[in-house]
Structure formats: structure tokens, C-alpha cells
Amino acid sequence: MKVDQLLAEARAADIAPPPNARARVLERLSTARPARTSPWLALAGVTAAALGGFVTWNMLRAPSAPAPTEVAATDDGVTVEPGAQVTPTARGLAIAAGRVRLSSRATLQLEVLGRTVECSAATLVVEAAPARATLEVTSGSITVIEEGERVVRGPGRYVLTPLGPKADPWAAAQALERQGDYAGADRAYEALARGDGLLAESALVAQATLRLSHRHDAPGALAALDAAASRFPSGALEPERSLARLESLWALGRAADARDEAQGYLERFGRSAQASQVRFLRARAQEQLGALPAAEADYGALLDDPATGDDASFAFAALAARQHHQAQAQARLRSYLARFPRGQHAREAATLLKTPR
């Protein structure tokens, strides 16, 4: 047979998908069935998990510095401390920032963070900032009116936070990310990063995580992390930053840099919840760099780890195979199956063990 004839016959072969394949795949896609997991675990999502539940708007927004003012006025029972931003209203005061003491028998209406606070025969101190206000009532009671609801409070310390999503750009950025509007979320984090304090630092880390996880932009993630490191060298989110950097370096295939970053993380934050995942990644990097004993030591230490044990145990066996230690590899595969009979590599491990040689 001639080559051209063979090719002509091959062209005539029907390679159309089977009748139900389109519907089957669509169903799997729409039910969000996860694609088969690679046996070579990536660390994706660790940073997001580390940030999840940690960053909240109320924790983050740095109080704006109050505008300089000469106000030190006193009225009947009202003392406005220097630096406070206070505006008289028809029935009382609007307090934007700063500290105000009140001790008045007259009914006074305060506007604080979008609420109305009625005070009558009460003694209290109001300390307001754009993101948070505290009301310390020492005697009497106050009535807080919030979106039409009236709540009466006696002596105690109360905290008010901004109302609604519009007042919370951090929540808005996270909502965009949850909705899958990654470009929009990136812009929103960018805008937040132009601010100051922990919020800006968090926005840069969140932007890096977003770029890495959803935009497949590891260089962009590194750029955001570099900005965070430069602006906040002793920032509160140093562990999260290090995790995100580690993921980015790994995604870029920079195994030696990833190993060094993992090493640094483990030295500084070795007791963190993510330490075992970082150690697993260090092992992967070591393996890639040919440092097999170091990789083996790390895998070996993770065999019973709840987060990484499944992958580490399988990788432990694979490493023995890679070093041509056949009996040891088989023993480790058996050990893997004993530990993780329903593990994500169980099928492959069982197949490898059953295959006749």
C-alpha cells in the first residue's frame, strides 16, 4: 500500500463524537463534576483558604485620619474633642469622626455611620471613624434607629459598622470575584490597593491570589506581591503573601525559587495551618531539582498528614520507583492503599500492584 492511499483511507474514518457524548459532557460540566485530579497536587487555593475567614471588612478598613479642626466647642452637656469632625443638625449633631462626650438631659439626636442615635438623659462617649464607631454609654439609655428599626440600649459599649454593601468596597470586590467577574474584581482590588493600611495590603494579596487562581497570570500575581512587600515590608499578611508568592513561583516553573520561598515560610511560619501543604510543595520542588533524599524526607514526614497525606504517600511510592527501588515502591504502594483505600490515587496504585511483571 502507498502512503497516500493509507492517508486517504484514514481521512475517511469517522471520528465524529458518539451520539450521546455531547449531552454527557454537558451534564458533567453543568453539574460541576470536578475534572479528574492530577496525581501531582498543586497548591492552588491554599492562599485563598488562608485568607478566607480572616479578612473581613470591619477588621480591615484603616481609620481615616480626621481632618484638622479647631473645634473644641462645648455646649450644654456636649464636649467635642479636638480633631473631631462634627456638623450641627436640626435636632443634634452629625459625627463623622473623632471623639464627642455627651451628658445632657435634653433629647439629642446624633447621626453616626448612617444611623440615628437618640439620647435622652444619657451619658455617653462617641468615638467615630469612617469604618467603625463606638458608643460607650455610662448611664441612661440610647435608641439606635437603623433602617427604620429602633433598638434601645442601656449602659454598655456598642460598636457600629458601615451599612450595606455600597459602604463596603472590600465586600463588593469579593462579590465580583465570587460572581466570576475576574477582570472587575481585579480592578476593584487595584482601587482598594491605592488606599492605606491593612486594607490596601489585603487588596494586593487578594489581587495576587485572583490573578493566580482565576486569571492564570502568575507574573501579574508576583507584581502585586512585590508591590505589597515594598509598601508593607512588615505587613500583617506576611504569611499569606509568602504562600501566594510560593504558588506563583511554582506556577512559573521556578522550582529553586519556590523551594527557597517554601523554606523561608516553614522557618517563619512552621506552625501555621498551611505548613504541611507548603512542605509538600517543597518536596515537589526538591524532587524536581534532583534533591531526592530531601524530597523523600519531606514526603515521609507527611504520610499521615490529613491535608497532604494522600498525595504525599503516593509521591513517596513514586519516588522509590524513580530511584529503581522496585520492592520498596511496591511496599509503599501497599502502604498507600492501606492508608487511603478510597484515596485519589487508589485506583492507580491498585492497578500498578496488580499488573503482572
Binding site: K2, V3, E9, A13, V25, W40, T355
Partner: protein, 192 residues
Amino acid sequence: MTAAPAMQVFENTSDLELLARCREGEAGAWEKLYSEHFTFAWRMARRLGAPPADLEDVVQDAFSVAHRKLDDFHEGRFSTWLYRIVAHVVAGRRRRQKVRDFFSGILGSAEATHPVAVDDQVSARRALVRVEQLLNQLSPKKREVFALKELEGLTHEAIGELLGIPTATVRTRLFHARADFERLARAEGLEP
């Protein structure tokens, strides 16, 4: 013998409109986009060497990636963009398969690679299997242009657009691919 019709890769009149609706979160638009490109993704995955048993997984992975990355698609043809995702998925799976093959090989597995199912009843299928076995011995880049030209019947220009390379590069790569293929075919007893 009638040749299978070549894929109409570049007729995507309403893709941009569908994509805009997808970005607005319209599930129906995504399903339509999926339906219109499913066969294309399937055929391309097969031509790039994805084992038949893995095709559903490959196509699922490719559409899953495409859906996640819709925001990254700004210009050009959706099919070209999708092709690159399919190629990436196939290449990724091939890399992982190599690792498994290595692992299996060390343990003495006889099932290191996917055997290609041979349907002895159909000569066209048999010919395709034979061609694919030869293609598997070419480098991925040569395999890609050769399969797209000789099996899928695309023009040099269409291949260039799909792969994002100049037409001249397609011609050069194809020349070398054909030479390699013929050399391998001769070794198998075929006449030039």
C-alpha cells in the same frame, strides 16, 4: 472512498454575540456556544493524539477551562482560542501520562500506554489507527500540522491561524513532518 468533510473551523458568525451573552451570565448562551463547538473540540483533541477513551474528559476539561477564562478572550476567533485550550489540555495529559508510564515502567507494568482499539471490520478505521500509530512517533509540533493538513484537510493559512504561526512556518514544518512520516511509513513496509 469518500473523504470525510473537512471541519468548517472558521465559520463562527455569532460567536462574539454569544460570548457577550455568556459574560452576562446567560446559561443558554454558553450551552449554545458549547454545542456549536463541541464537535470541533472533539475532532481536534483526537487529531492531536488524545486517546479515544479519554476524549470526553479532554473535551470536558477544555470547555471547563474556556468557561473559566472567558474574560481572557478579547479578540480573534473563538474556535482558534478554543483550539489552543484543547491543545494545552491534550499536552498536559500527555505529560502526565509520561509520568505514569515512567512509574509503570519501573514497576514493570504492561499497561503503560493506552492501547489504540483496532476495529478490524472497518478498513478506514484500521487505516486511521495505522496512521495514528505513525503520528505518535512524530514530535508534537510536526504531528499537529501533519494531522491538521492530511487528516483534517485544513489549508496552510487555516493551520497558521489556529496555531498562531506564519503560513511559511506551517509549510516548513509540514515539509519536515511529511518527510518523517514517509520515512516511518517505509519502515513499516509502505510505498512512498
